[in-house]
Each structure stands twice: as structure tokens, then as C-alpha cells.
């Protein structure tokens, strides 16, 4: 899980071009949107593409989005659950 979260942080920083943020500065449980890292809806789309590209995961139910994308940990848990289910 730790390795996956570290990889996710690096991918998020790169994909979203977060110039002022280093991957290690993102907290595992830090909210990614609004008051947390300050991401917005376009970033959410970028993360959806990131999950497809790097992990082959499609989010079937868009209503799950806020729950999955809450933090790096929730995304990592979603990826792990998806990979285990395979």
C-alpha cells in the first residue's frame, strides 16, 4: 500500500503539473479537492484518465467519484480492491 501511494503521488504531481508541490508533501489522508490540495473538476478528469492509463481501471459508477478521490489513500484502496477482484 505504501509503495502504491508513493507511486500515485508522483503520478498525480506529474499528470496535473503541480509545479509547487513535491510528491512527498502530499499527505496520505490529505483531501485532494477544495481546501486540501485544491484540485478541481478538471483535475478529477485527469485522475480518471490516470487510473485508466496506469492501472487499467475504469470508474463504472461516477457517483463513487467523491468517495474514491477523497485522498491518495482512498484511491490506493480502490486500486487494490479492483486488482484483488480481478
Amino acid at each position: 500500500m505504501e509503495k502504491l501511494m508513493a507511486a500515485l503521488k508522483a503520478q498525480i504531481v506529474e499528470q496535473l503539473n503541480l509545479q509547487e508541490v513535491k510528491p512527498e508533501e502530499i499527505g496520505d489522508d490529505q483531501p485532494l479537492f477544495k481546501d486540501g490540495l485544491g484540485l478541481d473538476s478538471i483535475d478529477a478528469l485527469e485522475i480518471i484518465v490516470l487510473l485508466q492509463q496506469h492501472y487499467g481501471i475504469r470508474i463504472a459508477n461516477p457517483e463513487q467519484g467523491p468517495e474514491i478521490f477523497h485522498s491518495v489513500r482512498t484511491i490506493a484502496e480502490f486500486i487494490t480492491a479492483h486488482q484483488t477482484a480481478k
Binding site: 496535473l16 503539473n17 484518465v49
Partner: protein, 354 residues
Amino acid sequence: MYIYIQGTGCVSPQETAAGNALPAAVLPWEGPRLKAWEPDYKQWIDVKLIRRMSRVIKMGVAAAKLSLQEAGVEKPDAIITGTAYGCLDDTGVFLSKMINQQEEMLTPTAFIQSTHNTVAGQIALMLGCHGYNNTFVHKAFSFESALLDSMMILREGRLRSILTGAMDELTNHSFNILSRFDIYKKGPVTHEQLLKSDTHGTVAGEGAACFVLGTERGPNTKARLSGLTTLYKPGGKAEISADIDAFMAAHNCSQSEVSLFINGRNGDASGDEWYEHVENTIMAGKPVATFKHLCGEYPTAASFGMWMGCRILAEQQVPVAAMFKGEVPEKLEKILIYNQYKQTHHSLILLSVC
């Protein structure tokens, strides 16, 4: 109804974005390509927004912010821009991904930022400006079209201030493609040699220039925009002289009233013949200033020429770097700017002191 230029802003291959003034000396360059001197954009743009912006968007937003600051306008009534190439860099990113990823899993940012009206839209978003927002993509008349639209709207009397401007960027891809059209010089050339050149081709450039236009003269007013016209493929050099004559007559300006003639000489021998003809006929004996050795050639370069003309009138001095020939008069009253792109798109802008 008079139209005044209340504020100006420019990002160009010169240090024009620092202090918003035309530097006395040319920032030296060598080669067939001039790259914009970019300021620290964080002084105008939130870091959260910068991360999604390509160079042309940052240049355009910075020029817009500079002009608004100078005019003392927080939110204009309308935003009108002109661009020939649009957001080329992001267009390249999006198209490359489309090909490489077989049209699957395309990220939204590059697409959103690749449209020609992205700059005007981004400025509007940042300012919360819900007014008229338009972008003209009319090749080398893009800037002039934006300016003309602004003038027409202001003359209708419904709006008081309009942010208008033009921006174009040069990318590695566009430079390589444009080079194939044989429009740039093959050999090395410097800023000192360009205007003396008698060979074919010019140098590539880029930049963004914005202006806040209004119908009321205020304490910050820089100049008056007295006239504008465009001429597509004039029949010959005699025709351009006649057109300039008619343009000046239409704006009640005689040849003797023109204090300075600014033209778009770019070192391309055949293109510069047009300027030489005007310098030796209808503008004979007038002091001449030029600007393409400062900004390079690009379809909306006339916006840099107009920015320079505004600064000259506001500061009542012509930088040595811009002078081509003649003596500058003590008082600068009217400036005629004549620019042409590839000998097909010709434009005239008349500025008056306030």
C-alpha cells in the same frame, strides 16, 4: 467620438514586460528565431492556474494584466483578442496524444487549452468578466480585426472600456513548419544586421500586446486611436501610397502632421521595398522607426508596433533602438504605423497624442 488607449501591456522578445516600457537598448539576439522574454508570471497569475497554461496563454494574460493595471481598470466591459495561430503548443500536445493513444484516454486539459479563444476566455475567468468575449482568427489581420471590432463597439456607445489585444506563439513544430515555406533567413543574422539585410527572408518572432480602449480621456490615457484600416493584396506600391493618402485624408491628417512613421521592416528584401517606397514618396523626409528587429515577424506583430507607438507618444521620446532614420522632432503629435505581412496583409494605424 474619440477612442483613447488607457493602458498598454506587452510581452515580447524584449524586456517589455518589466516596467511596461520600451527598453533603450535591444536585447541582443542571433539567428532566425526570437523567443519572448518571459517575466515571472506568478506576479499576475495564481500558481494553481499557471500549471495548466501554455506559454501563449501566460503571455496573453500577463499583457492583459499589465494593460489593465496601467489603465486602472479592474474589469473591462468586453474582451476581444486576435490570434493567427492560437494555442499551438497545447494543440500539438492534444493531437500527439490523439495519435499516440489511438484516440483513447485523452486528457481534457490540453484540449480545453488548445482552442484559439482560450486566452480571452482565461482572462475573462480570472477577472469574472461576463461581457462580450470574442476572438478573431483572421491570419495576419487578426489583431486589426479585434481592434476594429473594439472601435465599432465603443462607437455604438454601449460599452465604456474594452480590453483588446493579440498574441501568437512560436513553437519548435511551428518554426520548423514555417521554415519550410522559406520565409526565414538561412544564414545567421543579428539584431544589428537584420534591417540592413538585402537578402530574402526574415526572423521569426512571437509575443502578446494588449490595450485598454475607452471613449473617455482620463489621467492614465496614453494616446488616441485615430484610425485603422486594412488592405488585402494591394495592386502595387503606387496603390499603397494612394491608400495611405486616402486613409490620412479620411482622418483629417495631412502628411506634414505626421511626426513619426513607424513601419514593419523585417529585413526581407522584397518585403521591405514596400516600406522603402512609402518612405521615399508619401512619407519622404519623415523620421522612421521600426520594430521587427525587436519582436521578430509574426502575423499579429502589428500589435507590438502599436504598443511601441503608444509608448512613444506617452513618453514623448523614441528609443534609440527603434530609430531607423531621420531626426525625431521635439514634440511628437501623430504617428502613422504601416505594417504588412508577406506582402499580402497590409494595415495602417494612426495614433495621436493626448
